[in-house]
Symmetry: C2
């Protein structure tokens, strides 16, 4: 007979697939000798069987549960369903992968009218037992019967209104008794049946309800978003109740072995006196800091601190613990590896590695590239903050700084975000139903709730900026307005929020780049020691390049030379160049541009300081440079001494039906070789000048959009001729490469490779042309493609391994055949995408080039890939 | 010692590489016993040696020439340089591949003052000998010294003016003597030296000049245009002179063994009395028809007719012969396979095969697909001709009917043609310098010259419509005007010309499709017996389909279902469909469209009459259907009951940056599945209805622009569902296929192939996306690409075998792996391009689909490919 139920002393932490995370850890703590209320875990196999049996709890499972209740009775000396020393239990879900708040919990199970009456011996105990009983009825109606809590909360609210209070502690025993009575009536009304007085009926129905909750909508959404398999199933933990709301000497709390926001090595957490655990998570009352526990009960604090260390050493990770103090005795109700902010994860992982608790490799495995990426989040600039109008302050729940339009509803936040707006979702408190909107929003504000509330936990996980507990905000969801003091704001107003300080501002504020923690660079160093893939950065200016190198870039893999042209003075020259049909005007414009480009390139070579600097020749369609505003057209016509009408005609003649496949890239350089000459001269002279200053230079010139070897040959001879003159007598080594970004370039890679030192795959264009998707226009159908399951990913974000990736592989194989020494790089958006970097690493790409802010996470991704190989 | 010179009786027709075409045929005729003036051929090897030796005639070659002159003297009894019975010779080029008029000729070589004087015994002989001498001086100055003929022609002209005549026959002996004297003066003035009195100097310098003429500009252009290798070299034929201008009983002419315009089996040609051969080619006097020769000299006519038959039987091809009658004796000066009109070639080839002179396969090899294509040229409609204003009439030199703007200069015709204008080039007579302009022009008119003039020969070769000898036209090139009678026309005026009738009309005339000769269908049948590749047609209407099948199409390989939408009523419905955001409006529009599409499809199925009919679902970007004119927008807004402004906004929202890579093809069908449903229903119901009438149907539905198998799966289930209902209980077999036109479709062919019955390669789009060239925009750089040697062909005309072709091959290999029964077709423009068809045949494509007019030539191409395999 299969074993579907394990007592806590029968399991251990390695059995999480079978017992769920919570069950496995409860077993582990039990076996470690920690004070854990005794109980049993119904396995995930029982859950699977439940679904296989057509959502029926089999007699086999039922019997094992009932048998093990007897063992719990023997262990605790309490008796289930007895009025004397009754055993009350909690029933909680616990899946192999943590899904906080996604599934259901029932507390105080085992209470009946008789038992309640027998335990109600005085005012305190009466108040307590009926508070517990009414909660059981409410949770049972909600979880087992699916009738929600609202009707029951209304009863509580009506009693509190009687006392004009917001605090349920002010309700007395009689109130609780009556609330219980009312609750049973409501229960009957809602469900059409009496609340079950048989504890075993309660237990089995509750177990079944937990199994059922595995497939509730919010759990399914959560699993989809977090890529959790639907096949895992959940376990059910049935555990003796302990009561944080039993007496003045009772409390309940959540603690972290290290600070989950900053990573500081200190016991961190919060607790509520005379409360049950759910009160904290729901953020009903604002809890106290764990430090205050020291004042209230030093012994318990020290005991907790000790358990915290013991558990952290045992699990070799930061622990997130739930505890309850019942009548002054500490019980550990749960421990698990703590979710924490990216910063805290970085700090704790690096420190633990330095402490010897874990290895450097463990630290690298623990910090995800996504987290490193979040660490690069921006902050508001000090200047912006000086004049910023601060509206209110909440808890700094998840770091970052964003500005956006406020929305009070899930619908509003999603709708506007889909339009491309930056939105801030404001809710009284968030619930799992809100997670989709939280994903779409740029930032989140809640009015209730603390640092461990749903909003805070989820936002940190997502790396979203979040401020919690902003009690000063009053919202009127129906009318779409909110008030802060006297001021009224409509939905769509601009707010700025700082998730690191908890402050909320009016309007849009300028942001600046984040300062990196020292640990950040330590981790980067460790990553660099391990990784093989080079990570370079895209940088168009000297400043960009400096920043990129500071972030660890091993060179500049893509400098888009055209970006320099967009400055006022230069764009005027380039416009003259493009529209003029007189050679003397064109030559004049080129002469103006040459020194400007050269100066820009010199700054870049100085910044690169001996590292590779890859400069791409002019790439975009010419008409991107053309004036659109009347005054600009006028100025240009005037300077060229031609009529406005004539100039407009020339501008129009440069317009294209499909500019993405028109006169751009190397085609420009072939039609206007004088531009290529000017650019080559500017690059090579700049390199020479910087070299003369004693700074090493490694210039690489990259020819874009090559589809035929003749394109390359034509431009190469122009470049080589200039280099031969400028570099004569120096030892400067330079390379010429090409971007492979039209499919034909990949198909004919063998020929092209003979002529170049490197290929840089321009995966943006290669994706466009391989799919035949215009990035600018795909929006009109790609949504339908996701909805209809035609595409499961965004090929502009993550490389299409099957299609575009195959083409890249083919190109590499062909190129290697004709040029053993060729280097391969990637410089599209995909160069900074983790999934894509993994693929590039796997197929033997030598380097990726990405935005400076993505460099650290790309380095980490590359390192982790090597670790996976071990 | 290498043999650089062959006497005529030392060679034969198979030695054309060494002796050139003319030399080989002169040798052959000599050995056949035909009356050929004796001579020698200096080989192409001597020409190559000449260039290898740095453009010097080596002593070795010189000596062989001189030695062989002696042998000619022995053979003829005449002596070179002697005043008694002097040997005079012609020196003519003759390359392995005929390049008519491209290189130089010198006649009467060997004449000196002494010899001339000794031969001038009476008025007639004096006139003759000095006419010959002055021609020698002129040709020598032109060909050997490069000084042109103009100054010499001016002398002749001034003498003719004296007599107020246009006919040089009216000049007398004294005139010719004086013209010769003048010519020698001019010669000395132009060259700075005396005319060489040594015949051997004349001979060797003339030989060298012929070698040199191999690389003159017009020869190089000719070779480039006709893909003739520069390495062949030319031979030099040195042949005893015979004189068509010696006496009243002398004449010279050109004859064809069959009519080169119509193919009729009759001796055809023209001759000039008292003239040298060059007078005919230059079109100086208008010659007489060969039929008149019968009247003048029946014996010579019959002898010529006999040689014509002998030569045709010997060469098994139509012969183009030059002959001269000197004092009543016939000499054959040249024979070669005749260039002829496509029609003549078709007729003669089929007839010769029917006569048993050649095999069917030979006939197929002889008629090129290009010629078949020319046979499909249009004629003016009888209606248009009824009201047409006829301006004048010339010789019907090359068939076809075109309208276009007239230009009098090469520059004008090229410039305007490059702008996309249809142009007609009008020249007094054309010269080899004009061939580029003839290529650009749609049609050609000359004022002088006959059916075998330069213009006529070249135009027939190019398949250009051409009218020659329109003496009624007077042109004023300087002022860009021409006169016909009293009427004056400026350059740029619209003319229409009929190359089959020689008539010239004012304005633009409507054309109709040509009637096919019975021989045409005979040849097509022979081709079909041999070829393996299926040839289907692109046809969007029943009429198109009928025409295509008449032309031999084996099915309809592409019906573009959207073409039907462009009719007034339908476009209105489709516009409603696109811009409406109300489901009821959309459904209404679809309901309107369904019966209209169905009716169109029924006509197509009826026309196809049991042959395959492949219909492609809606393909182009939606905005192509949108109204642009204000009144259309107003009408649509009115019908939909929305504001103009609102409608404009919706129209704007459908505009795309890169429509070629936007919402089109199967993407449309996925975003608007109701359109795909409607189209599938219309196709399948139409097939069913026609099937019910007892007509066999083979419907194939083609999904365009597939890049991922899921696109196909999604649409396939829609189609299959509808087919299951409509075809229930019938035995109609239908196929579902896809177009492979985005590179990703090719790369993922293995997956896609599992879902379909056929792939149709959409090579237009595949070329666009593989190159990243927008067909609409590539014009801005592709010219530079040709000029700079980056591309050597137009990939939109001829398939890019290396790139796009490779992708097609890859797709076929992958597809065959997962679907053994899959069929492959091509339905881009390339499906009608001969070069491309060869490639498709070679790689195992099952069928091509091309425009109806290309079907016959495509069939022939496919057949000839099989013959090449033999």
């Amino acid at each position: 007979m299969e074993k579907y139920v394990y007592l806590f002393d029968e399991g251990n932490k390695d059995m999480r697939d079978l017992l769920g995370g919570k069950g496995a850890n409860l077993a582990e703590m039990t076996n470690m000798g920690l004070p854990v209320p005794y109980g049993m875990t119904v396995t995930t196999e029982a859950c699977k069987k439940y679904y296989l049996d057509g959502e029926t709890l089999s007699d086999e499972v039922k019997n094992q549960i009932i048998d093990n209740i007897e063992k719990i009775e023997n262990h605790t000396g309490k008796k289930f369903g007895s009025t004397e020393n009754p055993l009350l239990v909690s029933v909680r879900s616990g899946s192999p992968i943590s899904m906080p708040g996604m599934m259901d919990t029932i507390l105080n199970l085992g209470l009946t009218d008789d038992i309640a009456a027998s335990l109600a011996t005085d005012e305190d105990s009466t108040r307590f037992i009926y508070d517990s009983y009414r909660r059981l009825i409410m949770m049972f109606a909600d979880v087992v019967k699916g009738k929600g809590k609202e009707k029951f909360e209304e009863i509580l609210k009506s009693f509190k209104e009687k006392y004009e209070t917001d605090n349920d502690l002010e309700l007395n025993a009689q109130d609780m008794f009556e609330i219980t009575k009312e609750s049973k009536k409501v229960y009957r009304k809602l469900t059409g049946e009496k609340f079950p007085e048989d504890p075993f009926v309660q237990l089995l129905e509750a177990t079944e309800a937990v199994f059922k909750s595995w497939n509730n909508d919010r759990a399914k959404v959560y699993r989809r978003i977090n890529n959790i398999s639907n096949d895992l199933g959940t376990a059910v933990n049935i555990q003796e109740m302990v009561y944080g709301n039993l007496s003045e000497d009772s409390l309940t709390g959540v603690a972290f072995s290290r600070n989950p926001a900053t990573g500081r090595d200190e016991l961190y957490g919060e607790f509520l006196e005379k409360a049950q655990g759910e009160d904290i998570v729901a953020g009903v009352r604002t809890p106290k800091s764990i430090k205050e526990l020291y004042e209230i009960n030093t012994k318990v604090f020290e005991e907790l601190e000790n358990y915290s260390k013991v558990l952290e050493d045992h699990y070799r990770d930061v622990q997130d613990m739930e505890f309850t103090v019942e009548n002054g005795k500490l019980y550990m109700l749960q421990t698990r590896n703590a979710k924490r902010t990216p910063k805290a994860n970085l700090v704790t992982s690096v420190e633990m590695a330095l402490e010897g608790l874990i290895s450097k490799k463990d630290a690298l495995k623990r910090v995800s590239p996504e987290e490193i990426d979040m660490l690069m989040h921006k902050n508001f600039s000090p200047e912006a903050l000086k004049d910023a109008k601060e509206l209110c302050e909440g808890l700094p729940a998840s770091p970052g700084a964003v500005s956006g339009k406020i929305y009070l509803t899930v619908e509003g936040a999603i709708r506007e975000a889909k339009k491309g707006e930056s939105t801030i979702l404001i809710r009284v408190e968030t619930s799992p139903e809100d997670i989709e909107a939280m994903q779409y929003a740029s930032g989140i504000i809640t009015i209730h709730g603390g640092m461990t509330s749903h909003a805070a936990v989820v936002a940190r996980g997502m790396g979203k900026c979040c401020v919690c507990g902003c009690g000063d905000i009053e919202i009127d969801e129906k009318n779409g307005i909110l008030k802060i003091g006297d001021k009224v704001y409509e939905e769509g107003s601009d707010f700025s929020i700082d998730g690191s300080t908890g402050k909320i501002y009016e309007g849009i504020l300028e942001t600046i780049d984040p300062e990196m923690d020292k640990k950040f660079y330590t981790l980067l160093e460790w990553a660099k020691e391990i990784k093989k893939l080079d990570v370079r950065a895209n940088a168009d200016t000297g400043d960009d390049a400096l920043r990129a190198l500071e972030f660890g870039a091993e060179g500049i893999g893509l400098c888009r030379s055209e970006h320099m042209f967009f400055e006022k003075e230069k764009i005027f020259s380039i416009r003259k160049l493009i529209v003029s049909d007189r050679k003397e005007d064109r030559n004049k414009a080129l002469k103006e541009l040459l020194p400007m480009q050269m100066k820009d390139f010199e700054k870049l070579f100085e910044a690169a300081d001996g590292k590779v600097l890859t400069i791409r020749l002019l790439d975009p369609p010419l008409h991107e440079f053309l004036p659109k505003k009347d005054e600009d057209i006028y100025e240009l016509a005037d300077n060229l001494g031609i009529e406005m009408g004539e100039l407009r005609k020339r501008i129009d003649s440069l317009k294209e039906f499909n500019p993405m496949m028109g006169l751009r890239g190397c085609r420009l350089a072939i039609v206007y070789p004088e531009i290529a000459s000017m650019q080559a001269e500017a690059i090579l002279k700049a390199a020479y000048n910087v070299h003369k200053k004693g700074i090493k230079v490694k210039p690489e010139i990259m020819v874009p959009l090559v589809g035929d070897v003749n394109e390359l040959r034509y431009l190469k001879q122009i470049i080589v001729k200039i280099a031969d003159v400028i570099f004569r007598g120096t030892d400067i080594e330079y390379k010429i490469g090409t971007m492979i970004e039209v499919p034909r370039g990949a198909i004919l890679a063998s020929e092209i490779a003979k002529e170049v030192d490197f290929f840089s795959f321009g995966t943006n264009d290669l994706t466009q042309m391989t799919f035949g998707f215009s990035r600018d226009d795909a929006g009109s159908f790609i949504g339908e493609y996701y909805e209809k399951g035609i595409l499961s990913f965004d090929p502009f974000k993550t490389i299409d391994k099957e299609g575009v990736g195959r083409l890249i592989r083919v190109a590499m194989t062909l190129a290697n055949k004709s040029n053993k020494n060729i280097e391969f790089g990637v410089c599209g958006e995909h160069g900074g995408d983790f999934e894509s970097i993994k693929f590039f690493n796997e197929i033997g790409i030598n380097y990726v080039s990405c935005s400076p802010y993505r460099v650290p996470s790309a380095i980490l991704t590359a390192a982790r890939e090597e670790l996976n190989e071990d």
